[in-house]
């Protein structure tokens, strides 16, 4: 996000910026269950949504929350939920339902220490692989990561846009540090924000095939109540939305829901780079750790080390095409993470022996410091 100095800056917490981003993107429904460190999102939306004619509902748990989010989206309202690790476990069942019924929705997971109730007030990046593979079956999904307050705004807007455009759930991964850090930011005016809405069918209701393929691979979506009758099921379905076991139809369906995301790969994969032009060593980081990494890269540059930073905004589908050339350019890539190495596996997978991958993993509930990363940069 570009902040201009003319605009009035306001002090916002990461979680508050997520709310601002969601509302700017057109979110008008939220269902959730409070949990540290994501509660501020619910708290603020419970005030803001009614003011805008939207709906806020606190459900009995996260399973029900995710169900409500899917229902609201099927009725034509942009919807989201926000949770943390334990709640993220519970949403997984219905998340799979959203994937297979191709219901646009955004799920914010503010990562805290796990497993289980773990460390409620401490940051972690332990849910990265779960965000990609938490729900069963071969499902398409998009996972984005935020690292600053302004990211929380712009990435949340992007999450809604991608979700609407590709009819796929989008996970926004935040962490306790990003969520609770306050920064003074100038949010862009509404007219400066590009908002994408799902495409409604333009055929007469009796011609509507709710899951028919088209050149985008994304079927037009009618809202319940608009007169377009359609059947929604978690069973694999044909073009009309009715269950099928016909091998050809099953394969066609699964292929299509993956193809629609692959087709948008160029637009979906987002990375940010700093000092990468002549870098010989790079740090690949995401979330709050990317900020420690940026500091470490600057300090390393001051010591004459040609270091650079690749910040992953899109975690899945892994931004292979953007990262590839840098992996060949550098001799070493350092991957600091607040987990046991969940993203470094992904980087090693696409790296194909191009450069040496050095992991730095911290699982004590504290943010990785610039010094820890710098140590690698000056010694590898």
């Amino acid at each position: 996000m570009v902040t201009s100095d003319q605009q009035k800056r306001i002090l916002l917490q990461g979680n508050e910026a997520v709310v601002a981003g969601a509302l700017a993107a057109g979110c008008r429904f939220f269902a959730g269950y409070p949990i540290t460190p994501a509660s501020e999102i619910s708290e603020l939306l419970s005030v803001k949504l009614p003011e805008l004619g939207g709906t806020f509902i606190q459900m009995e748990d996260e399973i029900a929350s995710m169900g409500a989010v899917i229902g609201a989206s099927l009725a034509g309202t942009k919807s989201m939920t926000a949770t943390s690790g334990p709640g993220f476990s519970l949403i997984q069942e219905n998340l799979g339902y959203a994937c297979v019924t191709e219901v646009p929705c955004v799920i914010v997971n503010v990562m805290r220490g796990g497993p289980s109730t773990g460390l409620p007030t401490s940051p972690s990046q332990g849910d990265v692989q779960m965000a990609r593979w938490g729900t069963h079956g071969d499902h398409p999904i998009i996972v984005l990561a935020v690292s600053s307050v302004s990211d929380c705004f712009s990435v949340t807007v992007k999450a809604f846009n991608l979700s609407e455009k590709y009819r796929v759930p989008v996970i926004v991964l935040s962490d306790e540090v990003v969520a609770h850090t306050r920064e003074a930011v100038a949010l862009p005016d509404a007219d400066q924000i590009r908002v994408i809405d799902r495409i409604a069918p333009d055929v007469p209701p009796e011609w509507y095939k709710p899951y028919a393929d088209n050149n985008r691979g994304v079927p037009d979506m009618a809202a319940f109540g608009d007169g377009y009758r359609h059947h929604v099921t978690g069973l694999i379905h044909d073009d009309h939305g009715y269950p099928t076991q016909d091998g050809k139809e099953v394969e066609k369906f699964i292929q299509r829901i993956h193809r629609k995301v692959s087709k948008g790969f160029q637009e979906i994969q987002v990375i940010k780079t700093h000092d990468m032009e002549d870098a010989e060593i790079c740090v690949i980081a995401y979330g709050s750790v990317a900020r420690s990494a940026l500091r470490a890269v600057r300090d390393a540059r001051n010591q004459g080390v040609k270091a650079g930073l690749i910040q992953l905004v899109t975690l899945f589908p892994f931004p292979r095409k953007s990262v590839d050339s840098y992996l060949r350019q550098c001799r070493v890539a350092i991957v600091p993470e607040m987990n046991m190495g969940q993203m470094s596996r992904e980087i090693s997978r696409v790296n194909q022996g191009g450069c040496r991958i050095v992991k730095h993993n911290k699982i004590d509930g504290h943010l990785i410091s610039p010094e820890e990363i710098l140590k690698h940069l000056i010694t590898v």
Binding site: D5, L11, T181
Partner: protein, 196 residues
Amino acid sequence: MSDERYEIRFSGSGGQGIITAAVVIADAVGSFDNKYVCQTQSYGPEARGGKSKAEVVISSSPIDYPKALSVDLLLAMTQTACDAYFFDIKPEGLLVVDSGLVQQLPTSRAVSIPFTQIAREAIGKEIVANMVALGAVGYLCGQVSLSSLEQALLSRVPRGTEQMNSEALHAGIEEAKKIDLDSLPRSVLSDWDDEL
């Protein structure tokens, strides 16, 4: 290493309003003085008690690492917090403590002010000790305009408590004005800089 950054750490016990004080100064610096600012916090799962810490990083350029790297000013509102969070203060950094609650000072570059006592006796409510401390910190750090600090404070406290909070802030500022920072001992480490 920490170039133009100025780092303040507020510390004490959960329930003392440590984080609130940090948020107010961050708001003053970021929204009113238009500097770059990052405010972070760490606290335990308890509602009250336990160590509480909040940090504010102030800079004229965008801030990369959001937490403190080496602290310029540490406010300690309990002895436990003082002991736990003093370790990475700069040699020329300043320690500010509540003299009624922190008796053992780990440095002679320290300022002791009875924040809680002032809040109780002069303002009439112990609960605003954090705002008395905020006034002193705001004055002593020299990083924030005091009128911005008051504006930010008034925009964030519950309606009906403006007067009390504002009085507390001013009491802190006045108390800090009596302190002569130049009279504090300097760190000998800075004399060794050339040799190190």
